[in-house]
Subunit: 315 residues, 3 copies
Amino acid sequence: METRRLDKKATEAIVDSLLETYKNDSGTNFIEVTNLPFQEKVIEILDMLRELLFPGYTGRERVTTSNLEFVVGDLLCKVNDELTEQVERAFRHACRIKKCEDCDCRKKAEDAVYHLLGELPRIREILKTDVAAAYDGDPAAKSYEEVVLSYPGLAAIATHRIAHELYLQDVPLIPRMMSEWAHKLTGIDIHPGATIGERFFIDHGTGVVIGETAIIGRNVRLYQGVTLGALRFKTDKNGRLIKGGKRHPTVEDDVVISAEATILGDITIGKGAVIGSNTWVQDDVQAGVTVKMENPELKIAGRGAIKNHLRDAKH
Amino acid sequence: METRRLDKKATEAIVDSLLETYKNDSGTNFIEVTNLPFQEKVIEILDMLRELLFPGYTGRERVTTSNLEFVVGDLLCKVNDELTEQVERAFRHACRIKKCEDCDCRKKAEDAVYHLLGELPRIREILKTDVAAAYDGDPAAKSYEEVVLSYPGLAAIATHRIAHELYLQDVPLIPRMMSEWAHKLTGIDIHPGATIGERFFIDHGTGVVIGETAIIGRNVRLYQGVTLGALRFKTDKNGRLIKGGKRHPTVEDDVVISAEATILGDITIGKGAVIGSNTWVQDDVQAGVTVKMENPELKIAGRGAIKNHLRDAKH
Amino acid sequence: METRRLDKKATEAIVDSLLETYKNDSGTNFIEVTNLPFQEKVIEILDMLRELLFPGYTGRERVTTSNLEFVVGDLLCKVNDELTEQVERAFRHACRIKKCEDCDCRKKAEDAVYHLLGELPRIREILKTDVAAAYDGDPAAKSYEEVVLSYPGLAAIATHRIAHELYLQDVPLIPRMMSEWAHKLTGIDIHPGATIGERFFIDHGTGVVIGETAIIGRNVRLYQGVTLGALRFKTDKNGRLIKGGKRHPTVEDDVVISAEATILGDITIGKGAVIGSNTWVQDDVQAGVTVKMENPELKIAGRGAIKNHLRDAKH
């Protein structure tokens, strides 16, 4: 029996047939694409931005009142240089696809990054309200520091508030690369397009999905597995999806949405409503109401039973 | 059109307004906080602890019967040094918040770490039962080694058994940093406060949430998306959450909880009960029973149908 | 009060009792196991394989039409060397467990890797259809490049298509190490045994579980939290699980399965069926039908109501 070892000839054959598959592809090919944003660099920049928002929190660098101004100034300049480079690559890439030739991609990149950096103080103020909301909303939270150091919900919303500013500046690719990085780390998938108010808290978080056109008010709390998704997609006369268009829920102020609730479509959950666990909502919910599943009809086999599982008063 | 480039003046303006946001914050500020535990170091220590529990499993270091004692002794001393340093930082941090001045944080750290290290042989014995439970409970498991090398449920419970010992010693911040690291890697969110018996197996695991005051017996098996959560929170007369207090389920021995079941509140799931997929349980369940959704009322459109979806006998 | 510091004697005591726990264990012990595959190396190899499938996409290396052939040839040879080494370790490990002495593990490894590398051009062609399916199926997708650079569903299926080839060659340990790596990164848990057709798209993805014996046709779309799982396990006369055997669903072409649907057992979801969110299906579904929950019976408290939540026409 001959070993099917990879000799020179076999290697060349595989290389050739791989090269064949790279030909004439648009979009799955990154050859001669010198300006593609670089994933690892985008993550490094994100780390620096989070350090600007919570200086010293990683413990990597000792930050004191005497060196603070220099640490911050230095980080800000680094972020500006490196992010501008990556954003320029993303704009150039978009221009190549659109065969546009007269864009000043460098200038667009500088403008977009300038916008983001100018928003950092405001983002920091909003994040403080998010930290407070987590502490106020979770009986297990022992201190604000614990929230900043370990809560995945805080990591996700901090990343989102950064990515969203770049999304608003029409930066291609990078906002989604940032939000997918947070998704990897936290299991929380917030599209950079989503609009989210202050005092936002996601507890536990794994499996949360917030769609591109969702609008979330102030002081909203979500638990793990909550979806704010689209119900159905519009198609053109050729049956192709129409991209864009409001298709996700609007959630007004002070709403609480419990674990695993699935809320679909361009509906409105009114101010102060409470949506129970495992519900499935596809219609508007008026302000102030509590929505939960009817006492679930559980089937019980064996020698025991659920005690009083229909005792209404208890719910 | 002028480019809004980040010149020196613009940089100074942003730095100044960022500095403004750092002022007078408690808890979102890590400036002059020289003793904060360092996330990356905590993860390194966790890796060493897992190496002590399963020597050689990463393949990073060749472990033989001749070098074993030295490898283990060396790792143990390293963990002791580095973890004591991090735990001391965590205690100092807590003292700073409480404005306590007479704690011997170093001594408290040495005691806590000594406790954990002394528990390692016991943790190792329990983890063996967890590995066996995974192998016995999953038809896809090919060997014990596969469980140790690749099962996320095993990584999560191994981390939990370590973090829980530090939690029991009232170490601030670090237990949660450890459990959130496991959460990142596995999608399984076990609060370090949870009490969990031997032969514990979580299959697949993504989306599992186990709350701080949950108590789980021996030989319990959970699937992906299971929540053992809190139903409602107690508040004081000012409407603020009361921290602490038993608020999560007690799950007795030999219980199986299927995918996506949501179990909420300080209820008891009796010995040997089986909780079906996608159920939503908020009341005590007696020992030995099987709880499942009534045959779901599914609505069917189009030319076909679910075959016999109400055939009761089959369920 | 004496500090319980870890002195030499205490260290020796802990080391001794740890050593005791390492004795006589099969499967949780990796001592003298010189051929175990090395997790970090497996991940490095996986990165190289993904670079072969989408050359240049990480931005790490500049790929041009002039250097392409060399980059690809070089990567292919590296993957061949390093993967053969790891696969050989995995085979040797299996032989040690089975006490088999006459296997040519090196040759088996060379054959398995040769098979995988020869399949790469075909895998690349199939992945192009997966990218197209993601773009066509998600209104938020802005370009093919965005899908390749940031969609977790694409990362998961690319890894699966590689791991599955090694699974088909009966390589121990490594396919699952690869699929668990993708699980960590994406929250999508696809067992390397699953058979999946072209144009496969998982949107969002966190919490998806696809079991070992699932069979999925062409042009199937899944959303976050979908389980294609096993319902019950067969046991032998001693009550031990019987390993193997078809126990997961078969999903035919053109099926769409919405968020959080749980589909259990060796059933068939017929061609073109649509399974609604949060459903729980344990029986065959005929081709072409739409299955959804009956309008959920939601209980509403407070001053408002769900508007028309039973308006059937709207659904």
